[in-house]
Symmetry: C2
Subunit: 686 residues, 2 copies
């Protein structure tokens, strides 16, 4: 639509800001912003609806920079369009405590939707954002109220295109026919190692066609603003498929090193930077300069965005009058708070209730709460019958045309795509109106480690329903039996790992996971049946650890989690009967929650004076924090019926008793100090 | 050619054995073996060269069952062809300590090339096996000696096809034009959740075409033995591309539940099993029956295989005479032993040598040893210049037609495909003639967690060169700064994590990694420069932990790794000067190696009587095993110049000193017991 010199000036302003910021930081990636400036200019200025004064406007178009290392592109745009990101913030690029870190972080910076940088994640988040839009629209839009109709735009590069997680997500998006998703592939033939011809020679568009995507190609992405606009418009017009637009660009456009790997991850040399500025009509001796007419151009678009939001708010006002319940629900969902009284639906259990696998206890929770929490979207990576993640009358989230579900469906069939599931859930959560829960075997949450880490870093409420949580899965054997997995995720900051021992603890796990607005949860659940503990309560379990079997003048504390707590309680009885040894048993379903309890409570649970033995059929690593001796798995498991596997490794009342006696003997006559009895001083400052 | 009733009988024998074994185990997956029996029969009996009496014959064709849950297919074949896998072994399917575990494990079972089950891994291993073949052939084949010319065959299912790791590996194989790789895609339209139409509707063959593969389709994989044979033959005839043959099959063929998810992961009901046997002409009341003519048919093929090996051995004998050096090298490589004296090439350093980043120290090692260890194949997931994994005169491993390397090249460009890199390295190592080392940032080894786990489980020598190992990478920020990563891999059994502090320790790390024939290693290396320690030696470092700075009458032990050891030594000086506190400093580059030292040595390093503070800029989890107080990162890092990041979190001589004094005060007046002073009793029996 009649691109002028002003458009070109805007494009070049973005390029020069990327040069200046990386130069000042002496670090960062100028190449991608310089190559992508034309596409980003057209996308942001011609297509995207947003209001920089309210970056959280629900119906805004979402933008994801999956090649997050190119974030100076995004920071420049946010600044120029008038988000709360100042010129000083650009000058603090990649500096401590700035809001312009080396890769974009959603919790740091207004206008950043999701945290990207680890390649492939952003692309997959975008699929999640688009799914959330489709679902939210299906739930809330009414005749005359096209309330939720935003698009999700994503830019990704060769690196993202090579990552398996993006392949998984692209296949998913193709299956789901997400017409609201438009991705721009920055085809610049360069990755860090140089020309992509050394490792990446596939036909990317053909691959996306195979997934069911609509594909387009803009051959001169450096100059053809009109072509970029036409492609995006065509992509918007295609409603029944996601679109990918290959935009062939020159990395580091304008630099002497343009089109080479040299401009990917290093600031330009001084003379090159000056040269770039000169050739773009900027003063080579000045930095961080924005022509007023560029501010004005973008300011105009932002004003239009603000007006659109105002219009939308008016529509929402009418909606509130006509559809009160839906309106209230939509507002509440955005607050992150759950419906009042939802927790009354959590099942509780008596010791006399029959033994049940915790994966089934989890299913019972979902069955009871899914009506009360309409924003809960469950799903599984092709293990529905094993994860027990689907409530009985669930409808699948599917494109209606397939006749096997619809967009309002709350059960997602992720396919055998654990990593994409993790990242799609991050995108779903980031949209702001749904809470995703997804199932796989605990061992295969490791496939999604990259995404789980970003759940934690970007502080989203995502629930991993991780069943088959140990050697207790039995016959599938060592390839499927996690050993290191809980240690891994317990070591991850801002991630809760729950391993409930029975029904009440499972309900507590869900309470904790669902009310943790800014923390993801991994719920480790058994395949095998577990008895309900004599003294468990939801309330006690919500302290993360509690005394499951108290005993006066005890000789030892035995601490355990999940499926081993019941066996430890049996061991305590065995010790009393056979050895006249008194053991107390602590159940500790969630370390992170326990660690947050007051010190006096923690010392009640782990008192001074007697040693503590920890028992868990997983890596013992980390248990040294609570116990003096550790009984765990320092090797891989075995394939066989689970009771025999437990026996093989000694996780029986007898085996545990033996180790308890050894523990007592080691510390006999010593003034034993509780492992939790130390000042929590030697920690880093936050 | 000319398939008879005997062929059909053999096919049905495989099917019935799969039914019997899963029935007896009351567990397992009959569906895939029943559907795949025709394709497997043709592949094994018409094409594959192997000698069951010597499953390790170097030039055997390799077979990988990527959908490892269908392993009864493979176990049945191994039994029928005469491998050391008896009928009793089949009867012990999925039982404790059998050689027929729930998923195939290479170290358990003769004839199993790689450990599979976690989906997508086997497919990627197959790519590695094919790469190793191409490389080994390029190195050892001579005019008149086509010594190494085996094929790699792989069967994979819908689950593998959905996994991102397989997409990465397929793209890699297409780029590399691996004509020696033939994959059979079991297109049965069923995965665990049921019909693949609910989540997986892409055009798989078109996707593989996009990767550059040759594609074929056998439409009636249940009956068309001739068609299967023709397809495999065509695939063999195409030499410049890998081939994928889509074989459309009926899962659980013969069962009443055939073609449904019901037959995927559960044994058949009794009447159904009887029915299957009846319809295949077997006695419904008998189990584990093999008609003698089937044994004879397969025995004939095995004899031909044995004859082929004999012929090959004769050729090898001539080769030994004509190409003595190459012959010796080939034999030595297969033994797993390194060339004598190779370790003399490891660089050593004096304290006065200039400070260097350990990623550069690693590069120096590779530069010095690559000539001495010709089987070492380095590479990187598109971070060559950052990982410093490439020696100066390295040749890329590439198809010669691209003119950017050749098959003899020893540097692999993995692309941005960390997970596939991990699994390809497992395949490379499994071939038996090469040692793979691959680089990425430590944080992104997590993307490969599924593959690293299988390196450890299947006991292969694989080296992960994991640079940028902490907040010390600086500006890239929290998305790239590992926190939980070392804890994760330290908790993984049979995996060595090395985090060297200086040059001598880096040499030790390589010595340890390269001589650990059955253990993978993750080498955590810095981006930032490190001083060489005053007292480090390769010999001391090879104990995993040692006293880097001893002090008499010390008040405290400070233990650390990698980049923090030097800072801790500065802290000790600071403590002496400013607080008259005496600290001794322990460097502990590898826990796994240290834990294997005698108890008296470990107590020398961590003596009773004084408390210990651990310092590492990563999750402190696990350090409780050695230290009384832990100074680490309980949160994510920050984007900024690395010295400022270290300062922000207190990892400075002052900050460490402060925590050392706190530690001393906590334990003042106590009879402090060393954390390593306990009987290593409370462990599971192996
Ligand atoms: Ca690129
Ligand atoms: Ca299938």
């Amino acid at each position: 639509m009649g691109y002028t010199e002003l458009d070109q000036l805007a494009v070049n302003t973005i390029r020069v800001l990327a040069v200046d910021a990386t130069t000042k930081a002496n670090s960062g990636h100028p190449g991608a912003p310089m190559g992508l400036a034309p596409a980003a200019h057209v996308l942001f200025n011609k297509f995207m609806n947003f209001n920089p004064k309210n970056p959280k406007w629900l119906n805004r178009d979402r933008f994801v920079l999956s090649n997050g290392h190119g974030c100076m592109l995004q920071y420049a745009l946010l600044h120029l369009f008038g988000y709360a990101l100042s010129m000083d913030d650009l000058k603090s690029f990649r500096q401590i405590d700035s809001i312009t870190p080396g890769h974009p972080e959603s919790h740091d910076t207004p206008g950043i939707e999701v945290t990207t940088g680890p390649l492939g994640q952003g692309f997959s988040n975008a699929v999640g954002l688009a799914m959330a839009q489709a679902h939210t629209a299906a739930i809330f839009n009414k005749s005359g109220y096209d309330l939720i109709n935003n698009y999700t735009y994503c830019i990704f590069g060769d690196g993202c295109a090579m990552e398996g997680i993006a392949s998984e997500a692209a296949s998913t998006a193709g299956h789901l026919q997400l017409g609201n998703l438009i991705c721009i592939y920055d085809d610049n033939h360069i990755s860090i190692d140089g020309d992509t011809k050394i490792a990446f020679t596939e036909d990317v568009l053909k691959r996306f066609e195979a997934y069911g995507w609509h594909t387009l190609w803009v051959q001169d992405g450096d100059h053809d603003l009109q072509g970029i606009e036409e492609a995006i418009q065509k992509a918007k017009d295609i409603k029944d498929r996601p679109s990918v637009i290959k935009v062939t660009t020159t990395i580091g456009f304008g630099s002497k090193l343009q089109g080479t790997g040299g401009v990917h991850g290093n600031p330009l040399k001084t003379d090159d930077a000056q040269n770039v500025k000169k050739s773009f009509g900027f003063d080579p001796d000045k930095s961080f300069v924005v022509p007023q007419e560029v501010y004005d151009l973008y300011g105009k678009h932002s004003s239009e965005g603000a007006a659109k939001e105002a219009e939308w708010n008016a529509l929402l006002g009418k909606y509130a009058a006509e559809h009160k319940a839906e309106y209230d629900d939509l507002i509440r969902r955005q607050s992150g708070k759950l419906p009042e009284g939802w927790e009354k639906n959590l099942p509780t259990y008596k010791p006399t209730d029959p033994a049940v696998a915790s994966r089934k206890l989890s299913e019972a929770v979902l069955e009871k709460i899914h009506n009360a929490i309409p924003e809960l979207l469950s799903g599984s990576a092709d293990l529905t019958g094993s994860n027990n993640t689907r409530w009985k009358n669930a409808v699948d989230f599917q494109p209606p045309v397939l006749n096997i579900g619809d967009w309002s469906g709350r059960y997602i069939r992720y396919g055998v795509r654990e990593h994409a599931m993790g990242a799609i859930m991050n995108g779903l959560a980031a949209y702001g109106t749904v809470i995703p829960a997804g199932g796989t075997f605990l061992n295969f949450v490791s496939y999604a480690a990259g995404a789980v880490r970003l759940s934690a870093l970007s502080r989203v409420r995502v629930i991993h329903v991780a069943t088959h949580d140990s050697i207790g899965l039995g016959e599938d054997g060592p390839t499927h039996q996690p050993i290191e997995t809980l240690t891994h995720f317990r070591a991850l900051p801002n991630c809760m790992v729950w391993r409930p021992a029975d029904g009440n603890e499972t309900s507590a796990a869900y309470y904790s996971a669902l009310t943790a607005q800014h923390t993801p949860t991994i719920m480790a659940l058994t395949r095998q049946n577990l008895p309900h503990l004599q003294h468990s309560t939801v309330e006690d379990a919500l302290k993360g650890g509690y005394v499951a079997e108290e005993a006066k003048n005890a000789d030892i504390t035995i601490v355990s989690t999940g499926s081993e707590v019941g066996i430890c309680i049996e061991a305590a009885a065995y010790l009393k009967k056979n050895h006249n040894v008194t053991a107390r048993v602590v159940s500790m379903p969630c370390w992170e929650v326990f660690d947050a309890q007051p010190q006096n409570y923690r010392l009640q649970v782990f008192p001074d004076g007697i040693p503590c033995l920890s028992v868990e059929v997983l890596s013992p690593m980390g248990w040294e924090r609570y116990s003096h001796e550790q009984f765990g798995m320092n090797r891989f498991g075995a394939s066989g019926p689970y009771k025999e596997v437990y026996k093989k490794f000694g996780f029986t009342p007898e085996g545990i008793s033996e180790r308890a006696i050894t523990t007592i003997n080691i510390y006999k006559g010593e003034n034993v100090r509780s492992r939790v009895n130390h000042e929590p001083r030697a920690k880093p400052e936050n």
